[in-house]
Symmetry: C2
Subunit: 369 residues, 2 copies
DNA sequence: ACTTGACATGCAACCGGTTGCATGGAAATC
DNA sequence: GATTTCCATGCAACCGGTTGCATGTCAAGT
């Protein structure tokens, strides 16, 4: 088969952007002339058709599905049988319109590729599923503008929203909370239900651990300025180092990514620090690479501690990290949101999960001691 | 603040499962008595209210938003102004009900935590966004049952669906394709539009690369049985090794995960192979760890090649891998789906993207040569 | 001045369910 | 046997938009 330009009819429009990608091959035929031959789509069976088939009113069909106890068992049976044979499936949209509930909840995260989020997302989805809710996931790529847009777009189609590590301003978040039920993850705004990973205990242990190993001068490679977690971790470190008379340098990064960590290494080394605490594991992993590139051996020459503990033993050497329960956070946030939806009342709940340091192979005695 | 049991009213129901998680603290108050004091939610402004305010019929308001060219500029202006001051925002659900299009598309993946998917998802979301579509993401956790369920639940709320690396049977997929527009990723079913990563070229190069390095006996740590990519990669390897008279062992795994790779190492070593090709990068990374645990040095003692090339330099040593364009795949799949929705006709398109080997630091001369 | 069109807007049906209220028949009560 | 009660079911309005068709107005054409 020869690589050919994409000329399949009714699809060419997308050509421009597709051509730029890679070598590719397209084969196949269109069904432009016989639109019905390929896959014929079954059009929706409505409640009225079922009603006719079963010889009852539309309302009875509706009740057979939603409140079967209101009908006699035989009628229910007859209706369900008719529905079955016709292949009836309730129209979600119509139901949503009249009841006001569509059984969807939204989950918005800043970066789906950050390993912190997948477990959280997965747990959220599982929890929602238990209550027959569907999770719509949004990814903001760390952009507040994109986040605002996504929230707006989701607003009409979900009953409630979970914002994880939101990069929006307090005002924007409050504004959205006025539109629909909101639960925050790692964002502490009074009056809005929130579940937080309280890193302070873990970070305190991290500083203590480094102090015990003889490190006197350390650096914190920070996360996004809009991140609550970042502020919290930073101040916990500052408190810890100050209390022990250690020197602390703060290294800013544009976003918590592998690349950013790698690029932060230069600045870190300039500070003369012998150990670093990174905003998250991904950043720490980048730092690990940046150090390796400079032939600095971890942990012999340099110690690293991450946060989130989501990479675990997947780095080399295995990363010492501040552990949290990212999956739990997702599950709890959804659970809170569902409860709000059920009770139709918002409690000012602030749920904080504890953290602790998990020591692995990236921390050791400070060099020269 | 003392850790306290969660007794916040209207939220206790979830207590059982939350208690089991970790140390936690809850503070805050409920607004049970003054449900309106905290965050007062604005209820929806309808088209009728805008119509009244602007002194026109409901239909005109509708047209002001959807077909402004049908109205006189002044009327449009007046209506928009009224809508603005009232804070009107069109009800997505109602619109969907009457038009039949809700502007959502679904994307279902087997494992969101597998680094292959995030770039794909991100690209899909961006592409959908360009056409003002919203992506609903589903995660099946590698379970066909869960996948079936998700598809069913999505069916009512999305205009079309992209199934990435589906684990469903051909029959189930065909059945779903009868219900709504479907585009497949890495699944080759005739009659259903699909975009495929054709690993054969890259895998061929991988085998050749290993052969040139003097490896005579290699292993393939395979992926899910239901995976098309797995079958394809396996047969490409088999063809390559057979052609060169190399010995090949196939090691099965339950799922393409880090853990599975790590556990596969024992079987791999039993085969006496000096090099391994893994189904994907995640599996390869697991193998890397499994080898390190046994003090087998890569690439001196053993060579590894992954597939997908999504970890890039994030492993140590940096992983040699068969590259593909996972982001492109996501973008193209969405673009195809949108085209199908626009044209309302399904073409039997088969779009295959090429791959090539990217050599890094996990492959070297076979030991003893 | 009268017809013809074009154009702007309103009317009302419709999308596919849900639900408060009315109705009718059977069972229970006196 | 007449009256009350209860329960199963139907009727019709409603959710909030969209859209085909009818209507009315005003300018152009003859």
């Amino acid at each position: 088969m020869q690589p050919v330009a994409c000329q399949v009819e009714g699809w060419q429009n997308a050509g421009a952007k597709i051509v730029e990608t890679a070598a590719f091959m397209v084969s196949g035929t269109t069904n432009g002339e016989f639109p019905e031959t390929m896959i014929k789509r079954t059009k929706g069976v409505t409640i009225s058709q079922v009603a006719d088939a079963a010889g009852v009113a539309r309302s009875s069909v509706s009740r057979a599905f939603t409140r079967p106890d209101m009908l006699s068992p035989e009628t229910v049976d007859r209706i369900l049988r008719a529905a079955e044979t016709l292949g009836y499936v309730p129209n979600h949209t119509a139901r949503a319109l009249s009841t006001g509930r569509h059984g969807n909840i939204g989950l918005i995260v800043p970066d789906i590729a950050n390993p912190f989020f997948p477990p959280l997302i997965q747990a959220a989805q599982t929890e929602a599923d238990r209550s027959d809710f569907c999770v719509f996931l949004g990814n903001t790529a760390e952009s507040p503008k994109q986040e605002d847009k996504l929230v707006g777009r989701f607003a009409g189609q979900v009953e409630g929203l979970v914002l994880a590590s939101s990069r929006l301003s307090d005002e924007r978040i409050r504004a959205h909370a006025r539109q629909l039920p909101l639960v925050l993850i790692n964002r502490d705004i009074e009056g809005i239900p929130r579940v937080l990973i309280d890193s302070s205990a873990g970070v305190r242990q991290a500083v203590e651990h480094l102090a015990n190993l003889g490190h006197r001068r350390i650096a914190y490679v920070s996360g996004p300025a809009a991140s609550w977690s970042n502020k919290q971790r930073r101040s916990a470190i500052r408190a810890g180092t100050t209390a022990r008379g250690m020197e602390l340098s703060i290294i800013p990064t544009p976003a918590p990514t592998y690349q950013a960590g790698r690029e932060a290494v230069a600045s870190v080394l300039q500070t003369g620090a012998s150990a670093v605490v990174a905003f998250d594991d991904l950043t720490a992993q980048g730092i690990l690479t940046g150090l390796a590139e400079r032939n600095i051996v971890v942990p012999r020459d340099f110690s690293i501690i991450g946060c989130d503990d989501v990479l675990g033993a997947m780095t080399f050497p295995a990363l010492t990290s501040v552990s949290n329960h990212s999956a739990d956070v997702g599950r709890i946030a959804i659970s809170m949101l569902l409860d709000i939806l059920r009770s139709r009342s918002v409690a000012d709940v602030r749920y904080a999960l504890d953290t602790k340091l998990v020591i692995r192979d990236t921390t050791a005695q400070a060099p020269g001691r």
